[in-house]
Amino acid sequence: MRGIARALTVVILAGAFLYLAFALSFGAPAASEMDDYFIGHGQEQTGANNIVTAVVFDYRGFDTLGEATVLFTAVLGVGLLFRKFSTEEDE
């Protein structure tokens, strides 16, 4: 029963993924005004030649702060798991 359900899930997902793979056209994005703006104005506005860096740290800098926070959170989580336990605790 479990096996059948799993096989069914995989088949349905395979169909959906293949549909998605052909629904979008590779190499010709449908809309790109925002990216054209970055390429056209990024150099003058931020002074960075590398437009990806300009996007990462300037236009979408707040995302990068979030991403750095995610890394910090993971380090805290790992530290929490491998912390030293006092004898009083059950661990």
């Binding site: 590779f26 190499g27 990216d35 590398n50 437009i51 750095a68 993971a74």
Partner: protein
């Protein structure tokens, strides 16, 4: 058909990841499956921004030509770091489960379902 090859690769990699998650009992392998799905998502994002014949969006000594879209690359970069963070945390969970139960098998994780 062949023009959409990157998206087909995305579908294949994601499907492999999902099959691994569904069929494997070993927790480490399940985390590996999750990483595969994540790699597929990254590939998907980066492929979205490709323009035929485009060059990297970096102006330092750049040749003339159309540039590919930078936003998706920034998103991929963010997702890679998030992926590292989640994988590290999940693997630490697996290590602790292994230490407590003596096995990294999802079968031993049934103590909650009493």
């Amino acid at each position: 058909m062949i023009a959409n090859l990157p998206f087909i690769a995305v579908a294949v990699v994601a499907l492999i990841g999902i099959v691994v998650i569904l069929t494997r009992q070993n927790l480490v392998k399940m985390v590996m499956g999750l990483s595969l799905v994540e790699a597929a998502v990254n590939l998907f994002l980066v492929s979205l921004g490709y323009r035929n014949g485009g060059i990297a969006p970096i102006f330092t000594s750049a040749p003339a030509g159309e540039m590919v879209m930078p936003t998706v690359q920034a998103m991929t970069l963010t997702n890679i770091v998030i992926g590292i963070a989640t994988t590290a945390l999940l693997l630490s969970f697996v290590m602790l489960v292994y230490r407590k139960y003596g096995s990294a098998d999802a079968g031993v994780m049934r103590r909650l379902k009493e």
